[in-house]
């Protein structure tokens, strides 16, 4: 990438908006409160409208369930939410021809976190709180599940309530997990890591967060509607037979899907176009590569989920028959569409985790990242291959048996680029003098956990094993090892590593160590027994089990409770380190070479005083005399292309 030496005298003096949020001061401007009020009003109006339209229809009168009213309620509720927060101000103003590049002043102070801010750093911190809310809600539901499984005969919940809790837990966790890294860390860090002063489409970025929060409320609204019995996979025909809570599931997925597409779209475009001069693809940090691969998956796989959700909603509110075999539809259609999104979703969760640890390892090993380009290639390879494996999820669901070997092969193939990434980590660790700081501990834990999750995944891709353990706790343990053992540990590593940059405050190390050891030990004690429980035949999503499995289940449940406590310790650490005894973070507490650490803390609105010129990649640790990462005095002082 080069910068023109020609002085563009005919260009206006201000760049396309580098500003943050629109100023809206006072209680009567748009903020979270007005969004809530507008959402409630929208919900009431939509519900009334749906009843007005369909209240007298025979199916509605006979069943007492008006899906149209429920759907319209949620739809208008979401529209009200967006109107109330101010997300629709600009799209409406555009109709009159308003510019997209008008410079607007920033809102200062704490209230900006409750408003429609277009500053990527504010959005990133909003996401931190948002995903933690998701995480804790889903975690509470997990505690409820493990409590029920303490005893096979004495029950706390009815079977139908239990499956509703399981379904809500799975859906909330999976939806949260799609955004847990891309949302907070991706939005905050990508412009800093590529040397940009802004995101490509700040309004789309802000939209992605506020629609994400709307999706959370829509999915959670299933509980007062009576929940949904399908698990997070929402399989038809149960989907068509379920109660009104199913609308919340289908519409919630579609709403969160919109947020995922918006986030992926914005981040991909930003990385492609806003890299600082000199930042060739070979110099792009590995975390950015992982987010780029993830953004591609978010952008291209999620529309399929959105369509599948639309078809499901139409089946319920308009009586179409997409998933009803008796009327020319097919439940397998849902399964195919769902998993065409669903398997890339696994990598939407895994790739950012790999990116975080690959970014952190060299810092604490004081060694260059081993085979950086191979790691980036592995990430792109995983992203591409993830589109060709979805049918391994339906080996047992009636697909043509002749298709099984093909998808078994593609699934096993994907372990090769995944192995590339793993080897990058191992190569970096080799002969390193490791500093065991908290981010490093969480990163090392990921390799341990993901090794177990990944190896069991190779077994599961084999049809004979799949036939044997399908639908049981073995599968459950496998994906918790990959998603929780991988993604969540990486997320924690990322938070401990980057929150000092994001907030200017260090997190307490002692409390963090308590959290880490409890989380690591009791994560394994919770989920490893589930492999055995699964092999002994306990099925998922069932509230009872054979009496001889109670010991293992109790062991797992008690471990899960302590695992839950580790998250409370994390919440306590945030409160302690931010409010009770705040400790200012040094400018670069980990001695990182990353570009994001080279700018001021707290990061100014425009990120960099000058757009930096990148000289090399950021992994030259332990190399005396290595080229400086960047010329921070900017492009105007640079002569030509340093690349």
């Amino acid at each position: 990438m080069t910068i023109s030496a020609e002085r563009p005298t005919d260009v206006v003096a201000t760049p396309p908006s580098t500003s943050g949020a629109v100023r809206r001061g006072g209680w009567f401007s748009q903020h979270l409160g007005t969004a809530l009020i507008a959402a409630i009003l929208g919900y009431l109006f939509g519900h009334w409208l749906g009843n007005h339209i369909a209240g007298n229809y025979t199916p509605v009168v006979n069943s007492g369930v008006n899906d149209l009213a429920n759907f319209f309620g949620l739809l208008f509720g979401v529209v009200g939410w967006l109107l109330g927060i101010g997300a629709l101000n600009y799209p409406l103003a555009k109709i009159a021809g308003r510019s997209g590049t008008e410079k607007t002043p920033d809102v200062e102070g704490f209230s900006k976190y409750f408003r429609y801010s277009t500053d990527h750093k504010t959005v990133g911190l909003q996401y931190v709180i948002g995903v933690c809310l998701f995480l804790f809600t889903g975690g509470l539901l997990a505690m409820a599940i493990r409590t029920e499984l303490l005893n096979p005969t004495t029950h706390i919940f009815a079977p139908s309530t239990y499956i509703e809790i399981v379904s809500e837990h799975g859906t909330i966790m999976m939806m949260m997990a799609t955004s847990i890294v891309v949302g907070p860390l991706g939005n905050y860090l990508i412009p800093l890591m590529i040397g940009s002063r802004r995101m490509a489409f700040p309004r789309i970025e802000a939209f992605s967060f506020w629609i994400f929060t709307a999706g959370y409320m829509v999915i959670f609204s299933a509980l007062p509607y009576g929940g949904f019995p399908t698990g997070w996979t929402g399989y038809a025909p149960l989907q068509n037979q379920a109660g009104p809570g199913m609308i919340s599931y289908l519409f919630g997925f579609a709403v969160i899907g919109l947020g995922m597409m918006a986030a992926g779209f914005n981040i991909a475009v930003t990385i492609i176009n806003y890299r600082a001069p000199g930042m060739t693809w070979g110099r792009v940090p590995i975390f950015v590569w992982s987010i780029l691969a993830t953004a591609a998956l978010l952008t291209l796989a999620t529309p399929v989920l959105f369509s599948a959700g639309l078809f499901g909603i139409l089946d319920r509110v308009d009586q179409t028959a997409f998933y009803v075999a008796e009327h020319g539809g097919s439940s397998y259609l849902w399964e195919n569409l769902f998993w065409f999104f669903g398997h890339p979703e696994v990598y939407i969760m895994a790739l950012p985790a790999f990116g975080i640890v690959a970014e952190i390892l060299p810092v604490f090993c004081r060694k260059p990242l081993f085979a950086q380009k191979v790691g980036a290639a592995g990430m792109i390879g995983v992203a591409l291959l993830s589109f060709f494996v979805w049918q391994h999820h339906i080996f047992q669901s009636g697909i043509n048996p002749d298709m099984r070997p093909l998808f078994m092969l593609t699934t096993e193939l994907i372990s090769i680029p995944t192995g590339f990434i793993f080897l990058v980590g191992m190569g970096t660790l080799y002969k390193a003098k490791i500093r065991y700081e908290l981010p490093m501990l969480f990163s090392l834990a990921l390799f341990f956990n993901f090794l177990i999750g990944g190896l069991t995944g190779v077994f599961l891709s084999d049809v004979p094993v799949n036939v044997t353990v399908h639908g049981g706790f073995f599968v459950l343990s496998h994906f918790h090892y990959t998603i929780m053992g991988g993604l969540l540990f990486a997320f924690m590593a990322g938070l401990y590593y980057w929150l000092p940059k994001m907030t200017g405050l260090m997190l307490n190390k002692k409390i963090g160590l308590w959290q880490f050891w409890l989380m690591f030990v009791f994560f394994n004690l919770t989920f490893f027994p589930m492999f055995i429980i699964g092999l002994l035949g306990q099925p998922r999503r069932v509230y009872t089990y054979a009496k001889n499995l109670q010991g293992l289940n109790d062991f797992s449940s008690i471990s899960a409770f302590i695992l839950g406590i580790s998250f409370l310790i994390f919440a306590w650490n945030l409160a302690y380190s931010w409010f009770i005894k705040p400790e200012k973070a040094p400018a670069n507490p980990w001695d990182s070479l990353g570009l994001e650490w080279q700018t001021a803390t707290p990061v100014p609105v425009h990120n960099f005083d000058r757009i930096p010129v990148i000289m090399t990649d950021p992994y030259h640790y332990g190399e005396p005399g290595a080229t400086a990462l960047a010329d921070l005095s900017g492009v105007s002082s640079s002569t030509g292309n340093p690349a």
Partner: protein
């Protein structure tokens, strides 16, 4: 390391930085337009998958009993509207490149009118269907297509309208030659027109495919 704790700099830009950001901005419009087409492709591809999956499966022999078809006059009329919108976009852009702003504006407003007409026809078609939504696989996928097409028509018309409205605003703010100038606003505007034209051309191809699927085959 640069210890700059609590020493945020003052925002200033050099001409080179302004030009760099402008190029990045225009590149974003270009990339975003293509990526949006990619997203749209996967969305309509899932509908096409549903169509062919249910058609080939023909569960309960209920794919399309009696070869019932949606009203073809509506289908062709909507398709004609989409085709004219695309042609107007291509024609308008070529005239804009030659400096004929007025031609582009007329083409744009005409496209807005035609887009609204197509949207009205698509919605009205729902009340003129000779089948119930769940009467067959064909009927279900047609309803899905109708909803997606209505959203596409609305979004396309919105895009055209906001672009034309922006052109008028630019003329008001910066004078008659504002759209053809070398200012950042004008360059950004023309990039947006190019992305919009590209998308409309693609939407026309998609419309052709679905016309064949739902009204001809």
């Amino acid at each position: 390391m640069t210890d700059t704790y609590n020493k945020p700099g003052v925002m200033s830009t050099t001409p080179e930085e302004v030009e760099f950001e402008l190029r990045a901005h225009i590149g974003s419009i270009w990339t975003g337009g293509r990526l949006f087409i990619g997203m749209y492709t996967f969305m309509v591809a899932s509908l096409a998958f549903a169509y062919f999956y249910l058609r080939s499966s023909n569960y309960s022999m209920e794919w399309r009993p009696n070869h019932v078809t949606a009203p073809t006059q509506y289908g062709w009329a909507i398709y004609a509207c989409v085709a004219v919108m695309s042609l107007l976009a291509i024609f308008g852009q070529s005239r804009l490149r030659k400096g004929q702003v007025a031609d582009w504006l007329v083409a744009g407003w005409t496209a807005v009118g035609i887009g609204l007409l197509a949207l009205f026809l698509q919605l009205w078609e729902f009340v003129a269907l000779p089948f119930y939504p769940g009467s067959s696989g064909y009927a279900s996928t047609f309803i899905g297509f109708g909803v997606m097409n209505a959203v596409t028509l609305f979004a396309t018309t919105y895009w055209v309208e906001t672009t034309v409205a922006r052109a008028h605003a630019l003329k008001r703010e910066f004078g008659a030659d504002a759209i053809l100038a070398k200012t950042s606003e004008a360059r950004s505007f023309r990039a947006n027109v190019a992305a919009m034209t590209y998308f409309q051309g693609f939407a026309f191809l998609v419309g052709t495919l679905f016309l064949l699927m739902f009204y001809v085959l």
